[in-house]
């Protein structure tokens, strides 16, 4: 579009949009949809968080205080499914919607209506999950992995979970198609692949992972459905099937899935660290290759989730070596971030604190992952609280901390206001301290042999469980402060400049703050 007086008027006309509910229901604007995704994600984060607090309250001391064992199992299952599919994945899709078009100089996502549809699919999917708690027999009490034959025994709550997974899968596949098309086709002239922002790169790779594995998961749960209702025996030995087949199919999806929830976070950290170090990202090209290697390797390591399921020793050795190999590209990333900080001019605003916290905790989660990769040692720790601690160090500290870094980093761009730096720092330190209080002690519980997913435990585990529960409540309550910071920032606050961070790089800082409803109608040219 030409930037004439006439064109300007046309832009204004474009700005007309339905107000109120209709704006949000019918919107095809990437910023509106990004906002919807982010609020949805935060809502599910609270729902899943309340479930986590019910779990921790029950485990505060030995004995059953709050809920019956079958309810406990249901809440453990829903906590997992909601946090992975309702909170983490939509949060990153929200960031992608908001930021990828801004970062690559595109006026919107490639498919506006598809974008709207992939968001609104999330609502029925999440309702199916949450309401399954209230159907006869309750929700599926089988763990987020939905292992048969236990999942065959469940009531209709299991069917609701299966349909929910189907819908969530469709939503994320559509979202991924949109992101891939946008990144590959709508980049500003002159922005070659190797000039692309890291966040766009990591999302491009993540989107391919999603398209590759979500259909596999959908297939696995469909087989569960037919085993439950139509007399097939995919997973029942009595009919010639094998319960372990489900585990193979599930983890072929499940392992790439853990990189789906972490790779976009890597991208965010790769923006925040250089911005507050005032220095370009060290080893951009090797970052891209490391991300791609992690994604490719993720397809060959699923067996490490099944070291105790029974497999030939050659299989165990293969999966052990392949898993250990992932440490190499992951190490490259950590070294690159450290080298970016080296001899920079560092300041420690909230996004930077969360980014450094991310690296610190994620490396700890990586190390415990390396320990778990060693098959012989894993047998002692499999299905214990050590595993629970490990994946919360990678998923909470990894995905959640990077999401917080992203929110604080881009909030001025979204709202046009600066958030309260002081409160942001308080939020960081509370989250950091309570997170470690909750999950660090769980390593010891696992080493001592406490199995996971039990509602009551032996007395020797009592002290660390009490510490962990107190930490969990602190962690949960600290997030209300986050909500307060975000809401006050939306309502007002010091005016944010187009580029509020002096070290930040990228096209998103060249549009005004708050970002106008339509941006980059004339594509910028990258030299």
């Amino acid at each position: 579009m030409q930037k004439s007086a006439n064109g300007q008027a046309q832009t204004e006309a474009h700005g007309h949009r339905p107000e109120g509910l209709r704006r949000w229901l019918t919107t095809t604007n990437h910023k509106d949809i990004g906002t919807l995704y982010l609020w949805f994600s935060f809502t599910m984060f609270i729902v899943g968080g309340i479930m986590a607090l019910i779990i921790r309250a029950e485990l505060f001391q030995p004995g059953l205080q709050l809920i019956e064992p079958e309810r406990y199992n249901q809440i453990v299952t829903l906590h997992g499914l909601i946090m992975v599919f309702g909170a983490i994945m939509p949060a990153f899709v929200g960031f992608a919607n908001w930021m990828i078009p801004l970062q690559i100089g595109a006026s919107d996502m490639a498919f506006g209506r598809l974008n709207n549809w992939s968001f609104w699919l999330l609502i029925p999917a999440s309702l199916l999950l949450v309401t399954s708690l209230f159907v006869p027999g309750g929700a599926a009490g089988v763990g987020w992995t939905l292992y048969p034959p236990l999942s065959i025994q469940m009531g209709m709550g299991m069917d609701l979970a299966i349909f929910s997974v189907h819908i969530l899968g469709i939503s994320s596949i559509l979202g991924s198609i949109n992101i891939i098309t946008t990144v590959l086709n709508l980049r500003a002239p002159g922005m070659t692949m190797l000039k692309m922002p890291m966040f766009a790169w990591t999302w491009l790779i993540t989107a391919f992972l999603i398209i590759a594995v979500m259909p596999v998961f959908a297939g696995a749960v469909t087989m569960l459905l037919t085993d439950r209702h139509f007399g097939t025996s995919f997973f029942s030995a009595a009919g010639g099937g094998d319960p372990v087949l489900y585990q193979h199919v599930f983890w072929f999806f499940g392992h790439p899935e853990v990189y789906i929830v972490i790779l976009p976070g890597f991208g965010i950290i790769s923006h925040v660290i250089p911005a507050f170090s005032r220095k370009p990202l060290f080893g951009y090209t090797s970052m891209v290759y490391a991300t791609a290697s992690i994604a490719i390797l993720s397809f060959f390591v699923w067996g490490h989730h099944m070291f105790t399921s029974g497999m030939p020793v050659a299989g165990q050795i293969f999966y052990m070596y392949a898993t250990m190999l992932i440490a190499v590209p992951t190490g490259v990333k950590v070294f690159n971030w450290t080298a970016t900080m080296w001899r920079g001019a560092l300041t420690f605003e909230t996004p930077m604190l969360f980014a450094i916290g991310f690296i610190f905790l994620f490396v700890m989660g990586g190390f415990s992952g390396l320990v778990l990769a060693m098959t012989a040692v894993d047998v002692q720790m499999h299905n214990t609280y050590y595993v629970v601690a490990h994946f919360h160090y990678t998923m909470v500290a990894g995905a959640l901390f990077s999401a917080f870094a992203a929110v604080y980093y881009w909030l001025p761009k979204w709202t046009g206001h600066m958030y309260s730096e002081m409160l942001g720092k308080v939020h960081f330190w509370l989250t950091m301290i309570f997170f470690n209080m909750t999950f660090f002690v769980q390593h010891f519980l696992g080493l001592a042999g406490m199995p996971r997913r039990i509602p009551d435990y032996a007395l020797q585990f009592a002290d660390f469980n009490a510490i962990s529960s107190i930490g969990a409540f602190g962690l949960g309550l600290s997030q209300l402060l986050f909500l307060y910071i975000v809401i006050t920032c939306i309502k007002g606050g010091p005016k944010a400049e187009a580029k509020p961070w002096d070290g930040a790089e990228g096209l998103e800082w060249e549009v005004a703050s708050p970002a106008p409803y339509h941006t980059w109608e004339t594509q910028p040219v990258i030299k």
Partner: protein
Amino acid sequence: MTRQVRSVSVPHLAGLWALALLSKAADAAYALNFQEPATLIAKEIYNLNMWMMEICVTIFILVFGVMLYSIIRHRKSAGGKPALFHENTKIEILWTVIPIAILIAVAWPVTKTLLAMRDSSNADITIKVTGYQWKWGYDYLKGEGAGIKFMSILATPQAQLDGKAPREENYLLQVDNHMVVPVNKKVRILTTSNDVIHSWYVPALAIQQDAMPGFIRDAWFRADREGIFRGQCAQLCGKGHGYMPIVVEVVPEEKYAAWVAEQRKKMATGAEDQNKVWQLAELIQHGEAVYTKNCVACHQADGKGIPSVFPALDGSKIATGAKIGHIKTVLSGRPGTAMAAFGPQLSDTDIAAVITYERNAWSNKSGDAIQPSEVKAERR
């Protein structure tokens, strides 16, 4: 820890595990590491984990030492001017190659231990372990004691679970029948399951092996000291998952021989019982005990079940209808539901007694006395 376990270099660990400080002050209830190993393999695993931990802590200190130096010295407020470098091929190759070398150094000893763990040949005793919702069954198949079989069920009293009685030291880790094995003998464990996936997990013996319905998996151990080793089911298997502990009792050889003789005698008495004709009151009394061990988790002590999850027995069609239907249900279970087939788990006497109890308890007042012979007749 025992002397055989390699001592840990304290400075290494103290760096990362800041809680080590805390643990000194705290009492022994804070276990910070694996349970004390009772087999050679468990010791190797203990040492591997410590060794890996030392490597991790060293790398951690190096990486974050560099980062901390940057944070202190390269901050803007300290007058730091940003450098402009953004790549260095030499260092990038170096920090790819060095981790690979470390990984190879780690992989070698782990592989050796793994191969030893998986070699279950030439066992002295073979025991089949069957997971049930929610208890364990043990069948001694080969070696001294072959032919012994029994069930092993949580023995922690209900009052302790409800918090109405003080909890004992081994709360939730007690069973009625221990799995007894002799010390210094290679014991091979075959795991399988009757219903859903369970996992037989005894930390001190370094065994965790899933029990798969319809398949057999194996593992082994050779305990090098006597003692009682406790573990739990490690795979979520339904509402009773937290209530199916494992207790392995390792005893000297003579004591094991005595235990075998005692078990044989018990089984012989059990066989005689089946031909006896029982009185109604006797059956109800025995049946209540069987019910409490096997049925109460789902159908509840008051026979009301859990609405829309586990059906009630009080006033139910099966418990008040024809005897034969009731016997068949208990023997063969209900496929596709949590109702297991108790035929393979319980003796004719136990089944006859529990059915008699169910038909005469609560508001069910049929007056039927089911004899073991009637159950036997229905077995295929």
